[in-house]
Amino acid sequence: MKTYTKIALSALGVIVFLLAWEAVARSGIVPARLLPSPSAVPAAFLTEFSSGTWQTMVLASLSHYLVGLSLGTFLGVSFGTAAALWGRWDAFQAWVVRMLRPIPAIAWIPFAIIWFGVSEAAASFLIALTVFWINYYASYAAVRGVDKDLIELGYAFGQGGLIPRLFKIILPGALPGILSGLRAGLGQGWMTVVAAELFGISGLGMRMMEASGLLATHIVVLYMVTIALLYGVSDFLFMQVQSRVLSWQR
């Protein structure tokens, strides 16, 4: 399939989806309060934007997101790599990891509030938690998967010590896998932003909660679209960086 055919089809898909939605909303089958029409969203955007609410909420969420994402990614990659490198450490932490892993971020909300109060830190903590696990497992698998022959090459050429082995062979070799973890974390992080803000921390999630309380569903949709766009932009930017970093791949 040619590139322009692909783009045309993707655009067509979005247009058909929006038209069908608009048609259902206008037909009156579903009451307008329950399902806002997409054509109401631009107007909602103008109101929110001119009052400055939209910008404030986006900036607030973005700051929770960036703090949580960096913290969770850094710790996840570090712990995942350490567990993959040292068998003793791996064995020591294996069951702790198994016990903590299945607890979803939202289950930590009570503790987040007790520890950090209804604060920015609480939201960032929850995002970091989600992102941590994704990066932990991705890095673990990626480091484990590094070609043993390349590590042997390091020993043969005097690069077998921990530092050169780690930075010249293991981490570059694991980079493609670590980056796919980062990418997955990027998406999951945005999902957690909303959940983390629903209980009153200023941001997109809180604004959605407020609007739904007033049955202002077109505003809810506006912020859903906002999150989708923010995710789209961050994923696109990440892919640009990734394709540069991994330009050595075929």
Binding site: D149, L150, E152, L153, Y155, A156, F157, G158, Q159, P164, K168, I169, P172, G173, L175, S247, W248, Q249, R250
Partner: protein, 255 residues
């Protein structure tokens, strides 16, 4: 357990193996026993034998990647600064895919007390030696199998080793490329005077390249023949030498 000893005394030999015995695991029977071998400086020695006999294992011991069970392994290191005792060439070229060609060739130099400029110069000289000086900025995936092997040779030569160890370096190449690279290696050997220890299961290759051929055989394996060779590629002599080696190996073959 006997690790490799590095000695600084000047001798006619580059490596000396004394009563070396090699095995994997603690209680497993040994793979190689009673290996006594001295490799003269500047010589080209081939190690041949059936697959699984322990040729590569012996090479790994000399390279310091595996420790002999007993016996002595000594490498007589030259006094020159900024070089490694051994340079290893693998059957799979084993280039780091995330490094451009020139950075792959520099790899072994990075742990040596060598300035950045000198590192680059030596890597460029090594690339020139294997006739790939136009390929410095390429990625490994852009190269053919033969080119990758040349880069592997350049990487090993860049560290200016006392001995070049080659583990079936042309085993995975097609016949034409293999022939080219055999000639290239002979030229490099003649130009640089490097000592080469070359593992192969290809007897024609051994007779064509080496001036001395060590035959390993038996279970556990030991050195069964040590042949001076000057057949080169010269018709009748060449065929005789290959046939003689073939029968030696068959006589000592056991499953």
């Amino acid at each position: 357990m006997a690790a490799v000893t590095l000695s600084k005394t000047a001798t006619a030999s580059v490596i000396d193996l004394e009563d070396v015995s090699i095995g994997y695991g603690k209680d497993a029977p040994p793979v190689l026993v009673d290996v006594n071998l001295s490799v003269e400086r500047g010589s080209f020695v081939a190690i041949v034998g059936p697959s699984g006999v322990g040729k590569s294992t012996l090479l790994r011991v000399v390279a310091g990647l595996h420790t002999a069970r007993s016996g002595g392994v000594t490498i007589h290191q030259d006094q020159r600064p900024g070089h490694r005792p051994v340079g290893l060439v693998f059957q799979d070229s084993r280039l780091l895919p995330w490094r451009r060609v020139i950075r792959n060739v520099e790899f072994g130099l990075e742990g040596l007390p060598v300035s950045r400029d000198e590192r680059r110069q030596r890597a460029e000289a090594a690339l020139k030696l294997v006739r790939l000086d136009g390929y410095a900025r390429r990625w490994p995936y852009e190269l053919s199998g033969g080119q990758r092997q040349r880069i592997g040779i350049a990487r090993a030569m860049a560290v200016d080793p006392d001995i070049l160890l080659m583990d079936e370096p042309f085993g995975a190449l097609d016949a034409i490329t293999r022939h080219n690279l055999q000639d290239e290696l002979r030229r490099i050997h003649q130009e640089t005077g490097k000592t080469v220890l070359f593992v192969t299961h290809d007897l024609e290759e051994a007779v064509h390249m080496a001036d001395r051929i060590i035959v390993l055989g038996g279970t556990p394996a030991r050195v069964v023949r040590d042949v001076r060779n000057s057949a080169g590629r010269d018709g009748a002599v060449f065929r005789d030498q290959v046939e003689q080696l073939r029968s030696e190996i068959a006589d000592n073959y056991s499953i």
